[in-house]
Amino acid sequence: MSSLLEARDLGYRYPDGQVAVEGLSFTLAPGERLGLVGPNGAGKSTLLLLLTGVLTPSEGELLLDGESVPKGRLAELRRRIGIVFQHSDDMLFTSRVSDDVAFGPRQTRLSPDETAIRVDEALRAVGAEELRERVPQHLSGGEKRRVALASALALRPEALLLDEPTSDLDPRGRRELRALLEDLELATLVASHDLEFVLALCPRVLLIDGGRRVTCGPSREILGDEALMLAHGLERPHSLTPHADPHHPGGSHAHAPEED
């Protein structure tokens, strides 16, 4: 299988000594949607930052289109891989939505005309055309998330990394996001605790814990393995519970791991 993005024995240690990712390998194929699951502190967000070249790996290597990306060329990774942060607020900083979406195209020195095309295209893709002249800081959580997604799409990335994309979406917003991501047909890595969402969107998942890869494989198989899920602080999605009890939505509440 050809891979768009590949991690080989990737490791990252924060400056304070905390090891967040260790010996992690996996591949993301072109057009593939891969779920990234694991408990709090598993290293999901750190891994996404490594994959997009924001953090420099302490160990291991990254391959883009089968070619190793040397540490000096991480900027290229940043241009070709789009990311939407866990908190959209961290991505929006101008006084107008359209300026925020235009930020990437401008930084990569696209012409004003091309920039305008990209902004229209990206806002249309996420259904946020009507937000164009709004002040980003005044938007609702779900609207901010759509704008943040648009600002990543405006660079026409080859792959998209999403960190907790559903955390502030209502059910409709969640459905719309899923439909949107399916339409994009872009290689996508979705880090999320929303396992129903991951299950619906991603045919394959990568389970990590303590910065290490636990397993990687078909979503139904891994997410449906109750013992495995519980062992890593997760819970089998309700839709995979063999005899879902309509009176107890959530199914396995008796064994639910403690909330943090």
């Binding site: 940043r78 961290d90 900083f93 107008r96 990437g104 930084q107 002249e133």
Partner: protein, 247 residues
């Protein structure tokens, strides 16, 4: 804060707007007559109100200026320049006529300039004004620093508002010595948060092609209305001092 629907002044070329502001500020700072300073204040108010800023907004922005002027108004009338006559004949050290006149002139001038600054800066988003400055030849690093500082401050304010709401929701009154530990904890938390925020913001910018140099959009080409604005500003800047000379 900044109006979304830009008034006529906000729609003008940012360079033209700022240039007019500079011209008028230079000219009005040297006015010597109470009448012309009053006229300048009137003009500045007219400029601000006609371009969509509400009277309440202007008043709120002027509040710190008023507190500053209050001190000035309290002391300056007691100044006795050569030739000044006390206002109350029996109170030689009381307020003098010239002292009162200079207090009036000073406050009118300060108010006129402050209102002018409000009209120049608040009628359009701040980053747009900064781009105008860049267009007028202000060095890029200066403009970028100002831009990033402004964004950081805006974030800081948002955090503060949120924390205040969270404190109020838990019954915090914010008065008396018992509030001091809370305030210092909040200040520390805010600082740590804003450092973390700034870091993530920079990461987000780098993900979108930022490599240490901000690229701002080119300002749109100045139109006829913009040139007219500059000419009108120049005429106005010359008119008031000239009128003072002639009168």
């Amino acid at each position: 804060m900044s109006p979304l629907r830009l008034g006529w002044l906000g729609q003008r070329d940012d360079r033209a707007r700022l240039l007019v502001f500079l011209l008028l500020a230079l000219s009005w700072a040297s006015l010597t007559k109470v009448s012309s300073a009053g006229l300048a204040l009137g003009l500045a108010l007219g400029l601000a109100l006609s371009s969509g800023l509400g009277p309440l907004h202007v008043a709120r922005r002027l509040r710190p200026v008023f507190s500053l002027l209050f001190l000035l108004l309290l002391l300056t009338p007691f100044w006795h320049p050569p030739g000044a006559q006390p206002l109350v004949a029996s109170w030689a050290w009381g307020p003098s006529d010239l002292g009162l006149a200079s207090a009036g002139l000073l406050s009118l001038r300060v108010l006129a300039l402050s209102t002018l600054a409000i009209a120049a800066l608040d009628v359009a988003p701040f980053d747009q004004s900064l781009q105008g400055l860049r267009g007028l030849g202000v060095p890029a690093p200066l403009v970028h620093t100002a831009l990033l500082t402004q964004r950081a401050l805006a974030r800081f304010r948002e955090d503060l508002t949120r924390i205040e709401a969270a404190l109020a929701a838990r019954g915090f009154r914010g008065r008396g010595p018992s509030a001091i530990p809370t305030y210092s904890a909040v200040a520390g938390g805010l600082l740590v948060r804003s450092v973390g925020r700034a870091e993530r913001l920079e990461q987000a910018m780098r993900c979108r092609g930022y490599e240490g140099e901000l690229i701002l959009p080119d300002p749109p080409r100045a139109g006829l209305a913009d040139w007219f604005l500059v000419l009108a500003g120049l005429a106005l800047a010359l008119a008031l001092p000239l009128a003072e000379r002639l009168a």
